[in-house]
């Protein structure tokens, strides 16, 4: 009776694999990652409880809505495995407590995962990969495929195990104040690399020019280059950011605004015989 019922290594590995593959396979706007969660808890409850109705009861706990950034959210799955184990051993742990912890963590972790993993880490990797793929070099995509998947697999495995062994304190370390220094440094790398990405890969130039006479003319692009090389690229990035953050315009509308800018900019100004944008193409 006093024997402690532990989840085996095998069941945990199965649960982990179910989660990292299935977190979004059966996604719907209504239940999001709930079914991925159920699937990953199945090997756990199957092993922890002997009677079928206990298994069903335990699994019912996880029918509650769940959605977070699925990769960093692996930690929550590991954490609930630990909690479920405690519950199976008769510790005072009920479905409400487990779901309270899940609900309390999914919001902050979603914000953290979206900004650090998806918003910063992936763009840095892609930025480097883009640099390597100049001229159609396959090294770039291969670099991203290998580095991203290896880091993510071991990162998620670590998060799962940490969640399982450390419980709530593991997640606390990730969202707590101690991690602020690390986060601000990662975001700093992100801002800088993305600045370089903007300068390397965006090329916006203007064709606006006025000829006053045979010898003197005004070329807008050379004036802008004198202020800051690639000034227009910088300006348009800032404009898009400003529209989206300060004016709360959606990305799709920003794209449409740029289409309008292009349509107006391509009109040849009567009398001056010039336009702001002209890619200068012909067959």
């Amino acid at each position: 009776m006093a024997e402690i019922n532990k989840v085996s290594e095998k069941a945990r590995r199965q649960s982990f694999l179910h989660w990292i593959y299935g977190n979004l396979t059966c996604f719907s706007q209504e239940h999001m990652q709930t079914f991925g969660y159920l699937w990953s808890m199945m090997p756990i409850v199957d092993e922890l409880y002997d009677k079928d109705e206990d298994k069903v009861d335990a699994l019912r706990t996880y029918t509650t809505f769940f959605n977070t950034e699925p990769q960093i959210g692996t930690m929550v799955v590991g954490l609930t495995v630990g909690l479920e184990e405690a519950r199976a051993n008769g510790e005072p742990m009920d479905a409400e407590t487990i779901n309270g912890i899940r609900a309390g963590l999914m919001g902050p972790l979603a914000g953290l995962g979206d900004s650090i993993i998806v918003g910063t880490f992936i763009p840095i990797l892609l930025g480097i990969a883009l640099g390597l793929s100049t001229g159609g070099n396959p090294l770039g995509p291969l670099f991203y495929m290998v580095v991203w998947n290896v880091l993510m697999y071991f990162g998620m495995k670590y998060a799962y195990d940490q969640g399982y062994t450390l419980g709530g304190s593991a997640v606390e370390a990730l969202v707590g104040p101690d991690s602020a220094a690390l986060r601000s440094s990662i975001v700093m790398i992100g801002s800088m690399v993305i600045g370089s990405v903007a300068a390397t890969w965006i090329s916006i130039s203007t064709s606006f020019a006025i000829n006053f006479s045979e010898k003197s003319s005004f070329v807008l692009q050379s004036t802008l280059d004198a202020i800051l090389p690639k000034f227009l690229s910088f300006f348009f990035v800032w404009l898009c950011w400003w529209l989206m953050t300060k004016k709360k315009v959606s990305p799709t509308i920003v794209m449409l605004i740029l289409v309008a800018v292009a349509m107006i900019g391509c009109i040849t100004i009567p009398g001056l015989n010039t336009s702001f944008f002209n890619p200068g193409l012909s067959y």
Binding site: F35, M42, Q71, G136, A181, M192, G195, A262, P279
Partner: protein, 289 residues
């Protein structure tokens, strides 16, 4: 260059794997196969021109470098961008006789990719809505209270049934559009001359669009006006000093290390003060030195 039925089928299968939500899973499917740069390599191999595929994929990747989908709200669909947008762009670049390494080729790819990606959100909502049917089957199993039935049904709901949604909303659209792409691109070439107004606008849009992708990213990392200095520093490294992206990344890590040390020093100093007045003396002594 043409797309045969065999190639279209391969593209369709990859579209099923790479979608959000995709059958390849989040990490391998969406975040690897669904990235246009990786897709460029795959589509390039399928279509027999790897170099052009990667160049097109890279051009489209800039627009979607920071494709974040908070809470499942999607403004562009990765399967459409990558497995419809890239093949069509490759056809168009070849049909127009553009130099693959030119800015024009990149602009054309970005404009086409973005148009396809925005229209493709229909596919996302289609897949997610149809998955409700399979989840309904899962719920019924849960309500039955029979463990054997649950154990049989949930894996089906997770790994088998969503394929049906993907055959309808990923596979079929990709195959049909890719097969129909070539005549469409030919028509475009006939009716829209390269130096005409419509094509000038299309190429200009293509050169402007990457700014949206980077703008979305700035929204993630730039919180206060001073953060623009960090961005500008990286911009100038590349634009003025000619650093490539790997060099910038190394320089960025160097500054981030300094920042990390400073930040931890600051919080480390604050902690003992907050803990209790007893440690105050130690703190002051240190400062005297």
């Amino acid at each position: 260059m043409t797309i045969g039925i065999f190639q279209a089928v391969l593209l369709g299968i990859f579209a099923c794997l790479a979608s959000l939500p995709g059958m390849g899973g989040t990490t391998v499917g969406n975040y690897t196969l669904g990235r246009p740069l990786v897709g460029g390599l795959i589509v390039g191999i399928i279509m027999g021109n790897m170099q052009l595929g990667i160049i097109v994929g890279a051009a489209i990747q800039i627009v979607y470098i920071a494709l974040v989908t908070p809470g499942g709200t999607v403004s562009a669909d990765v399967r459409a961008i990558t497995y419809i947008g890239i093949p069509l762009s490759m056809l168009a670049i070849q049909a127009q006789g553009l130099d693959p390494n030119s800015t024009e080729a990149a602009s054309l790819a970005a404009a086409l990719g973005a148009a396809v990606g925005t229209l493709g959100t229909v596919l996302f909502y289609g897949t997610a809505t149809m998955n409700l049917v399979w989840q309904g089957i899962g719920w019924r199993a849960m309500e039955s209270g029979k463990w054997s039935q649950i154990k049989r049904t949930i894996p089906l709901v997770e790994t088998v049934l969503p394929w049906i949604s993907h055959i309808i909303f990923s596979f079929v659209p990709t195959v049909v559009i890719c097969m129909a792409g070539e005549p469409m691109v030919q028509l475009m070439k006939e009716y829209l001359p390269m130096d005409g107004y419509a094509m000038r606008v299309l190429f200009t849009v293509g050169s402007l669009l990457p700014a949206v992708g980077v703008g979305i990213l700035c929204k993630q990392v730039i919180a206060k006006p001073l953060d623009w200095i960090t961005f500008a520093f990286g911009f100038i490294l590349a634009a003025v000093m000619g650093a490539n992206l790997i060099a910038s990344a190394v320089i960025a890590v160097f500054f981030a290390l300094i920042n990390f040390e400073l930040q931890s020093l600051k919080s480390g100093r604050r902690a003992p003060v907050a803990a209790g007045s007893g440690t105050m003396d130690d703190d002051e002594e240190e400062e005297d030195i």
